[in-house]
């Protein structure tokens, strides 16, 4: 049943204008037993399947027989000053070889330091030094995995005084230097733009369209700290209206791209998730009509 996909930052054509959902445990049995016709692909956190055997891998096999897969990693720590852990790369490679995901992505962030994995995505200063080190890390990872990665723009709650360039310029240049694709998280742009006061359209315009291989949509929360509203990227609710508008602006600029609804906390019934997916799909359908798919050069 497994049909290997050519892995490039150009997404597989049949997924190009399809919206998928993040695979969550409460929905697993239904997605295996009654696959919704509209659902072409699901995304999983790669690290959740780093087990030697048992039900998790078995369930993922059943999912792979029904849907295309996207592997979204959270533990490679590409933003670290140190190169990626070869053992972790080997674990990813084992899963990639076994499941042949159509999409493969990681984050422009770090989480590992001094042998400790801190299970969050920390920001980096946007400097020439960071650009050089992170591009090297991505190259090491792509070499080990034998295929290009999509790297995701982060959401963040702080930035560093040392930064010498805006985040969008860093992401664009990183993609150029490392030869990797970009997973453009539309909610993250909105969250970080609010938290750090940059313009979302300028950000969007700085991203090289041809490098974008996937889009993410999610909900966020707001909290007040020192009298200032901070947006928190908690993936725990429906996509907010300004994020839908930014998604429409991204589609107008990029054309359709595989788009994921991420929902990791306060997980709703599958119907709600599929309804969010349908909203994203309607916009992808419109974008596909206005900007017909052209085969990658």
């Amino acid at each position: 049943m497994i049909d290997p996909q050519p892995a490039t930052s150009d997404p597989p054509p049949r997924l190009m204008d399809r919206a998928g959902i993040g695979l969550r445990h409460p929905h697993l049995v239904r997605l295996i037993e009654e696959p919704p016709e509209s659902l072409a692909w699901v995304e999983v956190h790669t690290e959740n399947y780093m087990v030697e055997g048992g039900p998790r891998l078995r369930q993922l096999e059943l999912i792979r027989e029904r849907y295309a897969l996207s592997f979204h990693g959270v533990g490679l720590s590409l933003g670290s000053a140190e190169p990626p852990d070869p053992e972790h790369l080997a674990r990813i490679k084992w899963l990639v070889d076994r499941f042949q995901p159509a999409l493969l992505s990681e984050h422009i962030a770090w989480s590992v330091e001094h042998g400790h994995y801190l299970n969050d995505l920390f920001p980096i200063p946007y400097t020439e030094e960071a650009l050089r080190l992170v591009a090297r890390n991505i190259e090491v990872a792509q070499e080990a995995l034998g295929r290009p990665l999509l790297v995701e723009n982060p959401s963040s709650y702080l930035r560093f005084l040392d930064s010498t360039m805006p985040e969008c310029a860093f992401v664009a240049e990183l993609s150029r230097r490392a030869g990797c694709g970009i997973l453009l998280d539309v909610n993250n742009i909105h969250v970080s733009a609010h938290n750090h006061g940059f313009d979302v359209i300028e950000y969007l315009n700085a991203i090289p369209a041809e490098a974008v291989g996937e889009l993410h949509l999610a909900g966020h929360a707001a909290c007040e700290i020192d009298g200032v509203t901070v947006l928190i990227d908690d993936h725990g609710s429906r996509v907010e209206e300004p994020v839908w508008r930014l998604f429409e602006a991204a589609l107008a600029r990029l054309g359709p791209r595989p788009t994921l609804i991420e929902w990791d906390n306060a997980i709703p019934p599958l119907e709600v998730l599929l309804d969010e997916r349908a909203r994203a799909q309607a916009r992808l359908d419109r974008a596909a009509r206005e900007q017909p798919l052209v085969p990658a050069a």
């Binding site: 048992g54 000053a81 005084l161």
Partner: protein, 251 residues
């Protein structure tokens, strides 16, 4: 160390110990919010997400300790022993020992945590086809005493000075604590196919298994079991192990 590496080392240290916050806050843009409060958002994410991982793995332990006491111990565990790899199914191996050290008066709760960890390990252990009961019938009876059994890779044996199985079961079912006069229990955890099984076994049966796991012959293991209980029924115990999938091979 490169400047980026220095920053990351200081940032990670500050997350795990607020006393070190001052070494990184100078490099963070305030923009209306104190840098230490920005850092605290990340500290909260780290602690809360890893606490939730432990809550998911140790539900009965949490019921026995109470949600608040568990959360407090879990967060102290996270700060003292953060994960050593980005593979959270492997996180929590040290938690039962941490409980034993932090709460020596509640050793039986630590035993329940050890049982929950054994279940977690069994769930993700390598798959293997159990030795079929029929396989033994093909071996001449005179060879039985010298047979050695290879345990299933998911097999775990838990010993406790108290009624660890009854306590675990009662906590999961949310029924009152088991009667205080229940004696020590041994528990066999196993995943012969896709479902983890958990069952209490007799002390003599545990002695038999332990000797087999250590590589002993069936005759040696049976002697250990009979030393615990002179009325031990070897054939019955072996039949239960073979139908339950405790072994993958014998020779």
């Amino acid at each position: 160390m490169s400047p980026l590496h220095e920053l990351q080392a200081a940032f990670a240290r500050a997350l795990l110990d607020p006393a070190h916050t001052g070494t990184v806050t100078g490099g963070i843009v305030a923009a209306g919010i104190a840098p230490e409060r920005r850092l605290a958002i990340y500290r909260h994410n780290v602690l809360a997400s890893l606490r939730r991982v432990l809550e998911g793995t140790f539900p009965a332990t949490r019921r026995l300790l109470g949600a608040r006491a568990f959360a407090e111990l879990a967060e102290r565990f996270v700060l003292a022993h953060p994960p050593d790899r980005p593979q959270l199914v492997a996180y929590g191996a040290g938690f039962p020992a941490f409980l034993r050290e932090q709460r020596p008066e509640a050793a039986e709760v630590a035993d329940v945590a050890a049982l929950e960890w054994a279940r977690e390990e069994a769930c993700h252990a390598p798959d293997a086809a159990p030795l079929a009961p029929a396989a033994l019938q093909a071996i001449p009876v005179e060879r039985y005493p010298a047979l050695r059994f290879l345990p299933h890779p998911s097999l775990r044996l838990i010993h406790s000075a108290g009624p660890v199985y009854s306590r675990w079961r009662a906590a999961l079912d949310e029924v009152p604590e088991p009667a205080p006069n229940l004696g020590p229990e041994q528990v066999l955890v196993l995943r012969p196919a896709m479902t983890v099984t958990t069952r209490p076994i007799a002390a003599a049966d545990a002695a038999l298994l332990e000797a087999l796991l250590a590589g002993g012959t069936l005759a040696e293991a049976a002697a250990e079991a009979i030393a615990v209980d002179a009325a031990f029924d070897l054939e019955a115990a072996l039949t239960v192990h073979l139908t339950g999938g405790s072994f993958v091979a014998c020779q």
